[in-house]
């Protein structure tokens, strides 16, 4: 039961992070399979049934741009971050850093610095 519970919570935790990881990785152009491998190589494995619908969603939101192109005599769909995506990625990374710092402070019991409070 605990394993299942942990797995559910882990997936919940990862869900938001995946968007960030995909956007960040697509600062360099990739096609789907290549992107999947690149993410897995950096420790963020994502299954294809999650990745491709996510890519479509991010593209429909205007955060990604894609085009079909021939490579190695095969048609592949290449994705890259759009200009809107770059702005959103920057904001999300700032948010991510704030969350990360907050969680660290909460876990370690470290109080928030005065200059941060004044922001």
């Amino acid at each position: 039961m605990n394993t299942e519970l942990f797995e559910n919570l882990r997936l919940e935790l990862r869900r938001g992070c995946l968007v960030l990881a995909v956007l960040a990785e697509l600062r360099t152009e990739h096609y789907g399979y290549e992107l999947r491998k690149a993410l897995a190589d950096r420790g963020m494995a994502i299954d294809e049934n999650t990745l491709y619908p996510l890519l479509r969603r991010l593209e429909s939101q205007g955060l990604l741009a894609s085009q079909w192109r021939e490579e190695d005599k095969r048609n592949k769909r290449f994705y890259r971050l759009s200009s809107d995506g770059e702005i959103i990625l920057k904001q999300l990374l700032e948010e991510w850093n704030i969350i990360n710092s907050s969680i660290t402070r909460i876990v370690t019991g470290e109080p928030i610095a005065e200059e941060e409070l004044s922001i």
Binding site: G32, Y33, E48, N49, Y52, P53, R74, R77
Partner: protein, 328 residues
């Protein structure tokens, strides 16, 4: 690669129209790349078992296709609690009592074959419940898609929420509207009761005669209705006298229980007669009608007990009804 083609074709069936070719082309390319990677690692072409393994690991075609369809629900989480409440009220508090105490009883009382009629009535009840479920679900799903005016969960005002009960038990006053409603209901019911009380009825050639015990019970029942009015009046005059209110309610339930006990003791509550009707059929109809009355009386007793016990406990309870007030 025939297995891959079959897999892709199966996925296609569940994909949104207009995107099928695009999604399938990308999916096919992904599978092909994965197979090529595996072949490079193995140093040989993949066999059928390995392709099966790859496809199984990707999941059932319906599951894969479902990921590309936007998440849809008939009734969303915001409306769902109201939907459940409406269904509960309509089915449990309207449909079942109407069938149990009105439709069913009349149908059984007037039928030539009461047992068959009873089964048919139960079947009709089940069908009505299914129909009601369908209609309520349809109405709520329309509300979900086309919210009337501004979205109801976005345009709201805390000042329009119902008042929370006060924290101190002595100030748990009866709402004025409730007191007026109790008083008005008592006056209307008692007037109708006196005006319409009869012990004989004619329903489609069937002569229904209530047993003599009902005449004896006429005035006690009127007294119970009037006590309800007195309770409403006292709640209006002294809204904070909650123990008095609980006490009267317990008294009403106790008197109801006594009256029901006397009625149950009578054993027969209705007699049927009809010119030209077969004697056996009439006796059977009377038996089922009396059985219906018996169930109704026991049901009434159960409700009276169910209401009296918590009300009785509240008389002696010092626990505040609402403990979370932050009002100063």
């Amino acid at each position: 690669m025939e297995l891959v083609d079959r897999y892709l074709y199966a996925v296609r069936c569940g994909l949104p129209k207009g995107q099928q070719n695009d999604i399938l082309a990308e999916l096919a390319e992904d599978i092909r790349s994965q197979i090529e990677d595996l072949e490079t690692g193995l140093g040989r072409p993949v066999n059928e078992a390995e392709i099966v393994e790859i496809l199984k690991q990707r999941g059932h075609p319906a599951k894969v296709a479902a990921r590309y369809v936007p998440q849809q629900y008939l009734i969303g989480p915001a409306l769902y609690p109201i939907y459940r409440l409406v269904l509960k009220i309509v089915v449990l508090w309207v449909l079942v009592p109407v069938f149990a105490f009105v439709v069913g009883r009349i149908a059984v009382a007037t039928a030539l074959h009461p047992s068959q009629t009873l089964i048919k009535t139960l079947w009709d009840l089940a069908m009505s419940a299914v129909f009601t479920l369908g209609v309520v679900t349809l109405v709520f799903s329309i509300m979900e898609r086309y919210p009337a005016g501004a979205k109801p969960f976005e345009k709201w005002d805390p000042r329009k929420l119902p008042r929370a009960p006060k924290s101190a038990p002595e100030s748990r006053s009866t709402p004025r509207a409730t007191a007026i409603a109790e008083l008005a209901a008592s006056l209307i019911f008692s007037t109708l009761y006196v005006a319409w009380f009869r012990t004989t009825f004619d329903v489609g050639g069937l002569h229904i005669t209530l047993a003599p015990i009902w005449r004896a019970m006429c005035w006690p029942f009127l007294a119970v209705i009037l006590i309800g009015g007195v309770k409403g009046y006292l709640s209006l005059v002294w809204p904070d006298r909650i123990r008095l209110r609980f006490g009267i309610r317990v008294a009403i339930n106790i008197i109801t229980l006594i009256l029901v006990g006397v009625l149950l003791n009578a054993g027969t509550w209705v007699n049927l007669s009809a010119a030209g009707a077969p004697v056996g059929g009439l006796a059977e109809a009377a038996r089922w009608t009396n059985f219906g009355f018996k169930i109704f009386l026991w049901f009434t007793a159960a409700i009276a007990i169910g209401d009296a016990v918590p009300e009785g406990m509240r008389i002696f309870s010092k626990k505040p009804a609402w403990n979370y007030s932050i009002a100063t």
